[in-house]
């Protein structure tokens, strides 16, 4: 049934029907914003530094004794997206086990942080790295040499974990 009574057009007053006041009002909002502080960033030149709580790409911690990872495989087990593959081998160090292969498929990773949460050695942590660009599928699978990051660069995250984990 067609609605003929109490339509939008009937409810509007004369000034509203004119549109002009509304346009002026809108232009006023724009004008006011022009004089407020800017939030946009000139991204590639101007960079954003995330806080310690930020979950960027997962990396392996490299401390003064070398890599912390003992290749227990828990990160690989807990990973809901099956992004992590670990192959262990024996070493002469005190902790007998080390990862001879540690690969994270960044196409599979969903940045949930479970690997970091489950890690008994605090060896895998979420870094601040959010620039994940790859040219092909193969280069998106990161090996150990790309994943190992010196502990100095991860202090914010380790501090965050100490406080809130």
């Amino acid at each position: 049934m067609n609605v003929t009574q109490n339509t939008e057009a009937q409810r509007m007053s004369f000034w509203e029907k004119l549109y002009l006041p509304a346009i002026v009002q809108g232009l006023g909002v724009t004008l006011r914003q022009m004089f407020r502080p800017k939030f946009t960033r000139q991204y590639p030149e101007e960079r954003w530094e995330p806080l310690g709580s930020y979950r960027g790409s997962p990396v392996l911690v490299l401390d003064e004794d070398g890599e912390r990872c003992v290749a227990c495989g828990l990160c690989s087990r807990v990973c809901p997206a099956l992004a992590i593959e670990v192959q262990a081998a024996e070493t002469e160090r005190e902790k007998e086990r080390y990862p001879v292969k540690f690969e994270i498929n960044m196409l599979r990773c969903i940045y949930c942080g479970y690997c970091e949460e489950v890690c008994p050695e605090e060896a895998i942590v979420m870094s601040k790295d959010y620039e994940l660009v790859f040219e092909d599928r193969e280069s998106a699978i990161l090996g150990k040499e790309q994943l190992l990051v010196p502990i100095e660069k991860l202090q914010d995250r380790l501090e965050f974990l100490r406080r809130y984990k």
């Binding site: 495989g73 087990r77 008994p120 699978i141």
Partner: protein, 593 residues
Amino acid sequence: MPVITIDGRHIEVPAGKTIIEAAYENGMQIPHFCWHPALSVAGNCRMCLVEVGMPKRRPDGSIEVDKDGQPVIAFFPKLQIACATPVADGMVVHTKSERAVWAQEAVMEFLLINHPLDCPICDEAGQCKLQEYAFRHSRGVSRFTEEKVHKPKRIIWGPTIVFDAERCILCSRCIRFADEVAKQPVLTFVERNDHVTIELYPGTEFDNPYSMNVIELCPVGALTSRDFRFQARVWEMSFTDSICPGCARGCNIRIGVRNNEILRLEPRRNLRVNQYWMCDEGRLTQYGFVNYNRVDGPWLRRVGTEKPESVSWEEAYEAVAAALRRYKPTEIAIVGSGRLTNEDAYALVRFARMVLKTPHIDFPRREDPYFEDDLLRCRDRNPNTTGVLEIGLKPGAGGTSLSELPQKVRYGAIRVLYVVEEDLASVSPELRQALEEAEVVIVHATNHNETTKRAHIVLAATTYAELEGTYTNIRRYVQLLRPAIATRERERYMGMQMSRWDKFGAWNDRWTHGPRRNCRQTWQHLKEIARILGTSWKWHRSEDVFRELAQEVPSFSGMTYELLEAYQGVALGRGLAPEPVPTMQYESHVLKP
């Protein structure tokens, strides 16, 4: 028989059994570390403490009853260990009462005091008895703040075993195994108090042929395999029930597979065949040939060319059929193998009798008197000699046996050799010569070897880990094998054991790229060749072959795969009335799904 009550359940138990035996034979569980049904009772872990009571008796010997007519139970003032307390009529046992649980939790707390937090690097993690009980029977927190006792790690016990003294919880299972089963008493406890550890006697090595059984026996990760150490976490593997093909004993095994590659074999309980054990030789030598040096796809050597050429299955079958057609039936000799499954042996015998109509069929015996011992290892190194003979893989009337074969080939009476899954060239120099002299050599082979070098046509065959079939062991038990690894044609299907990685891996994941070999089971080859030669068999899977075999061969009658699985193997001739499965269903600690 005495009737006892465990946790409110009345069970009848033969006199002389202990409480823990009674429980496990009736499907109940009591936490324990040192007790094992195949070993003597040590009673030193104290984990199986339970509350035990007997009916109260009056001075005249009659049983006191309460006002409901129920006997009054007088509980022993102290808790008893279930592994060393024999049952008595009227006995009442509480395994989950407040006092029992309190004691079990206390024992767990003691064991965990000096146990290192090694789980991330320990191979046992995931199938560890201590881990399991830490969840089930422990308080979950540690009150111990002092320094843990440190003991030596990575002690080499022998060619197969590495010992970690810190992880050891001193259950003495390995010591008792060495004394009682392996009969190599070289292990003992040394030191006292919390410094107790296990050592070898000076100048000895733990190197008996059954040494690796202590790895499964060990409730923690103190004993690890040098062969497997750190290869994979247990939960990354799939475990498929199978049979060891190393000798005629047919030990029941589990095949641990990751990424379509066998990483380890471990024994599986079968009280009628191998109890809980298997030999090191079987464990260490029976998986390498599945992983390496495999024949991949059929190939043939064309006339005038030296280089073998890879061809399609159809082409290869056509070539085999053409070669067989060219000769008279009596000029063809078939050499089978004691490694064939019953299904394949049946298909081969039918192929010889009904398709080729040749009486020349035999297989080489592989006997090794030095391998034999009085526990498990057999002189006969073929896993299925009994079954193959039962099915009739032997020379027919006027047929040539294997010993006469080289001579017949030399004089041109036999011109075609059809070798099925056997490395004939390595059996004897005469047979090697015969392979050179025969006009056509057709081989079904799993691995590249001396025979395939001399072959004209090679058809890739499945190993025991890729096929579905049955072996008949030396004690005449027919036992079932399930496929553990995928082939090109048989991807992992419903019902095949799969790990999480097998289930969810995609084509672009690197962990799914384990090699899939292009191979088929021998009966499938024979079916295709027979079809080209004019005989069609309606088999689609091994089970169809076995069903036909059970109808044709009287001693197999009544057997089905379900029956073999349910009864853990059925003796020949007992298909219609299989022996009941032993009541003891004990599994010490395995990976829980």
